[in-house]
Point group: C3
Chain length 676, copies 3
């Protein structure tokens, strides 16, 4: 499939909206000339084009699009063809009000925005299926069309009676008996017991927003409902026998959906990456991107597509900075380094009006090819052309970090020790950074993942243990894996119901400890953790901890660090327990990043994981390894604002990008090829 | 009644929700064992249990509760039996939508939350009365049941047509004639005149939120409506001849109701105290608690019950800290010191799910008795057992601070010199602290209180003079009392209508001054007040003032202090006027706390009030006196985080708690018993 | 007309609400005595009096008002008679619900507030016309009535079906064809194309809030609808042949309406000025007031009325400070200096109740004439009496600053380089301050203004070029004018649609530059601009720039300043281009105020504009010039908190106010009369 997609190229291009310029044929022609000049070989067409494709009900107007696809194809540019369901035409909303969403207060929205339609509405489903089939019939077999772009950035939820009905059916299928639900949801609290599934209403700030299990199941239902809608869309484009691969574009750090559930729905994972470069330090932004890239790659464990990114400044940030020279190149190469087989932009040409008119584009309102952005886009196009052999290569990781969306939903919704911020994602990032500092590939997976193939699994703040998780961990450690977990783990089950008789639930023996109490620290308040002399992990410094400190009882574990202050001063804070063939580490408090770097350096070295750097990489230096059956491609990038010293003599091989010098320049990328 | 309640014990226990564990009889049995171990002698049962007590309409299931009450009783544990009206079952809301509240925008809520029911709805009242009678008939006469806990933390308001109708009736009863209302409410402003009571609508941000007199009467109505509902509940439990005492639990610093109006409705005042220890300094938190305790005690002028408190960390604060060792003991003893005859917790056993699942409890999810919290709870239980003779003793105060909820509503609602914050409660607290620093008992009353029994009455920021108040003050001073009042007093009448012809209304002669203008100061902006040489109060320092400065005309008063800066520099700021047998002080500006301490030290010493310390107590030291006909119990507590020097040799007698040493340890409590 | 208005007096008085005191005839009598004592010669009557004028439908009660007008007139006090449409009576809203507004979510308001009525409702219009005609018939010809005060502070909007229908008609009239609208609004973006005008809905956060062209046209419609309503009101009072002049009172920095559109609707511009003196520095507050005064004067290019101001503290600010001694006088004289022919207060007598009861008044609740405020009001009355010859004199300006409300709406609504704040008004103010520092009169106009009469036009941040604007600028410069404009100009057309092929649109040749990219800077982030050696404007300092920096291509312009830092360091930042007989300056970044002072000093001196000070005036010193055919009146005011040195020997003539000394005292005003 990958080959058919790209015929051995890395894809390069972006969203293109010629329907905005149909009255200016010269602009369409100029765009193609510019695209060729910039080495662009793919565009996404048809996103939000419904009102032009079907200007009145049943009046399908697809010829203009057919001509453009053909014209592009003749010029060597492929099309990723979108279904237009991301925004509905006005006539549809006017004639069939049920297609508009109802919010949690029970009021139906007016027409407007993008995703403002009910994913349950039979009429909306029917109309979407009809236009999808039209597109598939007329355009799906064109050789220029290489993939389906199903809708656009799915998101949001609807509380209409149809959706509420589906939610009740979903619950009934899951729990079978209402008393099972009452028990698992703990509805006796505040007298919220249900007598039948028919009584259940979706969470609402005008009704019940505080029943965590209800909230959690609602969020799961929203993911399932969206997937159900997407499957309907896919079925419609494939109905006539068309079997081109399908994707849909995911969003950055989007909490509204559990993307992991899409694993088997899509042929290719793609996503839109809009980091805020030049705000904090570039290296922190790059770290955040890396985490998301690895998370996206880990959904299917395959290379993915960067479906959207910005060639210049965005228009929606509180302050939109121009991308500094070199930033576009470095940010794009990072995508490739982490497993992307494409660089695509929103957008090829800027729209003249409406909300995103100032969002950066390859071709701006001025319309020339003599702009700084166009030149940088072109230079990158040439580079990507030269790297085409990398397309399709894979990333193999022996370490994984668990970052679980359902766990996040549960933790952030629950009233607990710190309602202002639990810092879950930040903690995941510190652990991820600790592993990445050793130059190893890292998968970012959720609790459903198979752990058997890893040598190290780090699972910070696993508040919720999803069904069967603790069993999987036990087996992983028993078989020789190294497991690292932290405070606020194993506290509740899948219904956010507290485990009784001690936590972390069913892993107290594996970890050799029991959690007793957890203390919230105010912002700015700190404690420290101090090394036990001659501890087995070789830790020697005192580190700062903040936000959350757990008091633990140690049973079989050995204590590596103890608390420095407060009434639990000198009590154990970090422990390590040998369990069968493996080891299990427990970190009791929210420690600063350097603690995780030091502890994980020990763990990685002890584990002897391949492609690890000999020692911690300098801050801001990223290293990843892509490989095919024949070759290995080592990427080294510098996300500091100054040149940084890296000893490349450790890494022999052929240079595909960059220079063999003592230092890597600011925002520079080195690619070293070796043969297996 | 008190004796029947407790048979000579201080009550010790808390909310207990066995309905959450009916499927685990071993847990119920273990709980009783643990309660006995912790010297617990009372639980509150049935709060929020409606959906278990009446799982379907008319299907009353009370036997499980009867069995538990009996089992507890056999083990020496009494029951405070709750009516379940704090949250209604789903079937009730589904079948009778009128029981759910309507908000000020006119939309009816969905099912959810706790108090989300209309206090007017005839159906809700009927259903509550029915279950209350069921409880009373079946369980009310059980010897283990010592008191009725009517509903739980009443609060909130409903804007449904039924409530609006009651509001109009309430207004018509109060004003008789619509022209009287138009006149008192000043409806001519902005053309808001009414022609009939039928035209009046409750305040709403979608309608009229700015007519202060309407807002004020609405709040009064909400209090009256809630009381009317509570009386209906009480009548229902007493219907069959049951005459056990009734209480309902009040909340900390709750602005939604005028608790003073409940004086004659309840047999016992009880309340729930959830301070945020370990956030600011402990002594400031303790001061705030002291103010609330004294306010609760002053409602009926009798000892009261602490109905809820937290044995460990709460779950609803932005950051929930563990209670440090010793804090539980000190905080609990403060309740006793201020007149409580109980220490009760929310909750005996933590619930497994729903919003409060992480709220601290005597028995946590782990479920053992080998926890720090359980050990501290047990130690306190032993101490309370040893102090049982204190139960029922009273607190006698010769000084009072006026803190009036209606005054607060009016002042905070009115547009005036400082809309961002008037600091009413903070000013009350400074005055209260000034008196308490002298070690005297202080009542905290509202303007309805009888002042005749006091020697000192301090009335800061009495913006609104409730009907007859100024007459009462005049008589108080004429008879020899000392009265202290401040800027922004006597400005409006009960309808928030300004007094004309000079303020403070009708007390200008008593005070010997007239208020001319009031200046708002920005946050951070300050002025000073300087002592007049050889002033009669012996004031010698310059103090900082902020927020509000009044310019006054002095007639017969003598000036004690003058302003330091600004265009009113050197004008009078603090005055004292001799009026008949008494004295009246006027403070023109929002002075720092030490000013009130110094001025009130002079006033208290001049008044020779009994049980006053010889000199100001050290900061953080609290002193109160409880007494019976035979004995006096002096409480001295240290709310500093370090040991503090107090010369106990001034206070002879028998030590019931603590040691006779030079210092009191941090969070330490001394109790000295003397015989009258 | 002006003469008939005032018979050669400056008007002095304010809003007066005797309807609040009809039951106290002694108060009415005392008020008149006090007004005479204070030299008050005019009051505004009848504002918000509808419920007294028509207490029940059709029951008109005008005699009380007739008597008061007569009584005032006999005492030398004129009446500005208001129509009462600013707030409707309760019976009207109860009987005809359509008169109440509907908000953007589609919910109709309840009764309350002031402007809470639909400007479209036929019933509301009919009822207003009826009472207006009643007032006109009974009172309009009274010799004491000198002007109509139409409604009060018009504002707000209604989204009811009637208004939505009018909006669609308004759009159809403007665009004729729906495809024209689709094209100009760029509705193809996000598939928002309309098939007919009937499909269009007003913007709403529950529907479409992000279609900028829709938002913009809605705001234009709201202005037009309000004007349409006002015209109906005016027609009603003039129906019986009455032709007394009409005004309505505008508000300070009010963004809800484009006041410039009222130019031909009103006979006299009047407005309400409520600055927050004593908050920041007085001189900054004075500068802000000056900008608004000049904007108001420039609407008709005639003297105007200050209809409301506060004699003391307001009641609605977060902190309301007393006006310090001298402030009332200085603030009032500033109004006269900028072209006002009146000083009027809200309010003569404080109301006893409702939301504005603590708003400052000439006569306060105390009710005496022995107050500080009353004494200052009286002193000012005497001064104004002595200045009566100034009435009707005009202000002539040779420089203009463009401050355009439609431009502001567009810029602040659009997503762009800085969504948190573009600082449009602040930048206008810096440019205005630069010109005013040279002591010249400045008009503040919008893009519809005729530019031909000016020698200097400064147009900062002209994001939107309204139709024909660029042509007007071209002609202005070609004819010898000096034009100064900045970054973020000429970007979009009247429908917020981006210009293509380069910006500033159609003025690139006049300016000799093209704008390439714009960079947003975070708050606190700065760059600098450095002078090119021997630049033609004589600039010699380095200035700080922030918020926004544009990169430009210079064609024919000469570069005056270059950027100091960042990747565009040393690129052009400020340029000057000679175009035909004139010059055009371009400022690329948001420069600090002193840059504009220095650059504009050069431009003003080069232009040799009359009445310019020889050099920049000291900070805090304001200078304006009013003139008649015979005389010139130079006003010099000191808005510093200390006396300030000004060399008055440059300004010979007769002193009408103040002293010829080396310095002007704090808050002092000098008026120098010379004969032409």
């Amino acid at each position: 499939m990958k080959e058919r997609l790209t015929e051995g190229h890395l894809l390069y291009g972006g969203d293109y909206n010629p329907e905005q310029w149909l009255d200016r044929p010269n602009i369409l022609q100029k765009d193609i000339d510019y695209m060729k000049e910039a080495h662009i070989n793919v565009v996404s067409l048809g996103i939000f084009a419904w009102s032009v494709l079907e200007p009145a009900e049943g009046d399908y107007q697809l010829e203009w699009l057919a001509e453009i696809i053909e014209e592009l194809y003749k010029n060597g540019i492929y099309t990723i063809l979108a279904t237009p369901s991301g925004a509905r035409p006005k006539w549809l909303a006017d004639r069939y009000p049920e297609v508009l969403r109802v919010d949690e207060t029970g009021h139906r929205n007016f027409f407007g925005f993008r995703h403002n339609h009910c994913y349950t509405s039979p009429i909306y489903r029917k109309k979407v299926a009809q236009i999808n089939r039209q597109l598939s019939n007329r355009l799906g077999e064109h050789p220029g069309v290489i993939m389906w772009h199903i809708s656009n950035e799915y998101g949001g939820e609807c509380y209409c009676p149809l959706c509420q009905h589906e939610f009740r059916k979903w619950l009934e299928k899951k729990y079978k008996n209402i008393e099972v639900l009452n028990d698992k949801w703990c509805t006796t609290f505040w007298s919220h017991r249900y007598q039948s599934f028919a009584q259940i209403e979706a969470p609402s700030r005008r009704g019940e927003p505080l029943l965590h299990a209800l909230n959690l199941d609602w969020r799961r239902f929203v993911t399932d409902r969206t997937i159900d809608f997407a499957k309907m869309e896919i079925q419609a484009v494939h109905k006539n026998g068309n079997d081109k691969p399908v994707t849909t574009n995911f969003m950055y750090d989007f909490k509204g959906m559990n993307y992991a559930k899409w694993k088997d729905v899509l042929d290719v994972i793609s996503w839109d990456n809009y980091p805020t470069w030049h705000k904090g330090s570039e290296r922190e932004t790059a770290l955040d991107c890396a985490l998301e890239y690895d998370r996206m790659r880990s959904i299917k464990g395959e290379s993915f597509l960067l479906m959207e990114s910005c060639p210049s400044a965005t228009s929606w940030q509180s302050v939109s900075k121009l991308k500094r020279p070199g930033m576009l190149h470095a940010a794009s190469m990072q995508a490739i380094a982490h497993g992307s087989d494409s660089i695509q932009y929103f957008q090829i040409r800027q729209s003249r009006g409406a909300v995103e008119k100032f969002h950066g584009a390859v071709i701006d309102h001025y319309g020339g090819n003599d702009t700084r952005v166009f030149r940088e886009v072109t230079a990158l196009g040439i580079d990507l052309d030269a790297l085409r052999e990398i397309q399709g290569s894979r990333i193999h990781a022996e370490a994984a970090v668990i970052y679980d969306m359902e766990n996040r939903w549960a933790m952030e919704d629950s009233d607990g020790p710190r309602n202002e911020n639990m810092y879950y994602r930040e903690t995941v990032r510190k652990v991820y950074e600790g592993l990445r500092a050793m130059g190893i590939n890292v998968d970012v997976v959720d609790m459903e993942a198979d752990l058997a193939s890893y040598r190290i699994v780090a699972a910070p703040m696993n508040y919720m243990y999803r069904d069967g998780y603790e069993k999987k961990v036990r087996e992983f450690v028993a078989s020789g894996g190294t497991y690292l977990t932290t405070y606020w783990s194993g506290v509740v089950d899948e219904c956010d119901r507290c485990f009784i008789d001690g936590t972390p639930y069913h892993l107290m023996d594996v970890l050799g400890i029991r959690s007793k109490e957890i203390d919230g620290l105010y912002e700015g308040e700190v404690n420290g953790i101090c090394p036990v002399p001659e501890n087995s992990a070789g830790l020697q410094k005192t580190y700062q901890v903040s936000h959350l400190c757990e008091r633990i009882d140690v049973t079989t574990a050995s204590t590596l660090m103890t608390y420095q202050h407060d009434f639990y001063g000198e009590e154990p804070a970090v422990t390590c327990n040998a369990y069968k063939k493996g080891k299990a580490y427990y970190v009791g408090a929210d420690a600063e990043g350097s603690f995780y770097r030091d502890l994980l350096q020990h763990i990685v070295c002890e584990g002897g994981i391949c492609n690890a750097a000999k020692e911690s990489l300098p801050e801001g230096i990223e290293m990843t390894l892509r490989e095919t059956e024949d070759n290995r491609y080592l990427f080294i990038q510098n996300f500091n604002r100054t040149k940084t010293k890296v000893d490349l003599s450790h890494y022999p091989g052929e240079l595909l990008m960059g220079q063999r010098e003592d230092t890597i320049p600011a925002l520079g990328t080195i690619i070293i090829k070796t043969t297996v």
